[in-house]
């Protein structure tokens, strides 16, 4: 293919198209850049900014509401709150296998879906569950109430001191 500079312009034989000209390249690059930016924006849309339904952060009350040694089950929110000498802690009651809600049993928790069993502190005793029941982060809100974050995990054994 002849280069644009090699051919003298003439009425009968104009220069053939120069396909790799700077213009083509910059047009193509800016086109791809615009499309890429648009695609990036479009791909952001399906990820929800806010989740429908109530917040995944529960104010469960003041520390005094949880006496030493007692356990409070939050069945709808899927966690239990306990208090021992070291402080307060929350354990999720959602099976780490495939997400079924586990039932409270005498030795701990049992999952009805695939037979996983957990100890009181969430350790796996039997079944396909790959890891213990997660311990959830607890913090104190500005007004003094305890807040349990269902989506935030802490290492097992982490107590919230009170």
């Amino acid at each position: 293919m002849p280069d644009a500079n090699d051919v003298k312009p003439s009425r009968l034989a104009p220069p053939p198209v120069t396909r790799r000209s700077f213009l083509s390249l910059s047009a193509l690059v800016s086109f791809l850049a615009a499309m890429g930016t648009a695609l990036a924006g479009v791909l952001r849309l399906p990820k929800p900014t806010v989740e429908p339904g109530p917040v995944r952060r529960y104010k469960v009350g003041h520390p005094e509401q949880f006496p030493l040694g007692a356990e409070t089950l939050f069945a709808e929110e899927n966690f239990v709150v306990r208090r021992d000498a070291a402080g307060i802690y929350a354990i999720a009651t959602t099976c780490t296998h495939l997400g079924c809600a586990v039932a409270r049993t005498s030795e701990g928790f049992a999952c009805p879906c695939h037979g996983s069993k957990f100890a009181d502190n969430g350790r796996v005793l039997a079944g396909p569950a790959p890891r213990p029941l997660p311990w959830l982060e607890i913090s104190r809100a500005a007004d003094g109430q305890l807040v349990v974050y269902v989506d935030r995990e802490v290492p097992p054994g982490t107590h919230f001191p009170v």
Binding site: R44, P46, P48
Partner: protein, 521 residues
Amino acid sequence: MATTAPPSETISATQEFLSNLRQLPRNLKDAWFRLGRVPGSEREESQATFHNLFLHLHSVRVHRRTLSPSLTLGLGLIATFSFVVLVITGLLLMIYYKPSTALAYPSMKDIHYVVATGRFIRNLHRWAAHIMVIAVFAHMARVFFTASYKRPREFNWLVGLGLLVLTLALSFTGYLLPYDQLAYWATTIGANIANSPRELTDALGITPYFDPGGLQKRLLLGAQTVGEDSLIRFYVLHVFLLPLLLVILLSVHFWRIRKDGGLARPEDPAGGWAEWGGKMQRVFEPLATKTYGLMAVVRGRRPPVNRGPEGTVMSWPHLFWAELAVFMLTIAITLVLSFYIDAPLKELANPAVPENPAKAPWYFLGLQELVSYSAFMGGLVIPSIAVIGLALIPFLDRRPGGEGVWFGTPGERTVAWQSLLFGLASTVGMLAFTVNFGWLRNWFPEIHQLWIIAINPGSILVVLFAGWSLWVLRRRNSVRLAAVALFTCFLVGFVVLTYFATVHRGPNWQFYWWPSQWPVH
């Protein structure tokens, strides 16, 4: 990939496997991009076109005129690409939209306020819809004024007419989905236009036995008033049925363009010059004595078999540059509009508090103006006359000539100007008369409805236009010129009525010079 595989007798299968594994990236690339570089020769350019599913709809070479921006103004492409934008943004909106009367409006609010890019995507959808409607109308006018509907393109003209109707239906069904006040009342008006044959059947007293209007309305709404059932019907039509039909018709439309020999254009002058094989050559001159027996499947007045170049250029890259540029132009216009102007979202639909004025979508406002005189005449008869008239154009005007040239036959431009003025004067005059003096009902309150159906500003305009066209037919002795006269008049009437109803009609359908004068009610 036989060429890249090493001879099998010298190496073991394991080595072959490993070798294939090493060459995997290259072979994958070859499988995807067959040529692997920008086509260098015309043979490669041709292959780039017809080896690609999405490009092979194009012919390998297109005529230079096809690329001329002043011939098509890119309107068909703009309509197509805005449809592409609509499909993409529409699919995205479907992720969050919930088609129920209780949830639709809140989900629109979520899209507006919290969905990432949601507000922008919705704006794009809205603006692309408007652009598509405008482009489809303008494309039709372009095809008419360049006489591109003539043989062998009559069928494609009909397909295009179907696409126009589908476009309007898609836009209209989308109007209800936000389920806000605007949606509710615009849809109510639209549905009652469908109900308008009642006016005739009521006047004749046969509604209890024969009620096509009521049937149409109930089919559309699934009830007597807009509600849950209407919403789901409109949703199904809008996101599935109508787009499917439109895609099918669109494919036929494109396919016909190819089969009808590309865009309509006048015959090339014999002995012209054309680019061929990288240099300019004389255009092939058919011998008067020779017959060309081998007929191509592609229709055309002369078979292109064994002929020299006809002022054509390679589709790759020229046509594709053009298409890409028009695509991006559509995107850019839509983006700019969406950046500055939000799609409207009014209060939640409230059947107890009508919008005043309750206006249909803008492209129906011309109709709504006519409907305000007589629902049956304006809502059904005149649109039917218009659609049937448009459909008949290529079958009544069969004399070849002027294809692919704006106002191609002698006298066309003059007639078009005259008709523009005539249409403008008669429509504006009719509107001015009606606004100032009222109509039959104001003068004879007891008059029978049949009189009003028969004689109203809308029907009088139709008669005026038809009369003008007949006069042109006799005076100029040309069917094409009569068609130009009629089409121009209808187009002007449509534009004027739409403008008038958009800007000058306020609460209670009263005349106002400007919307800012509308009283607060």
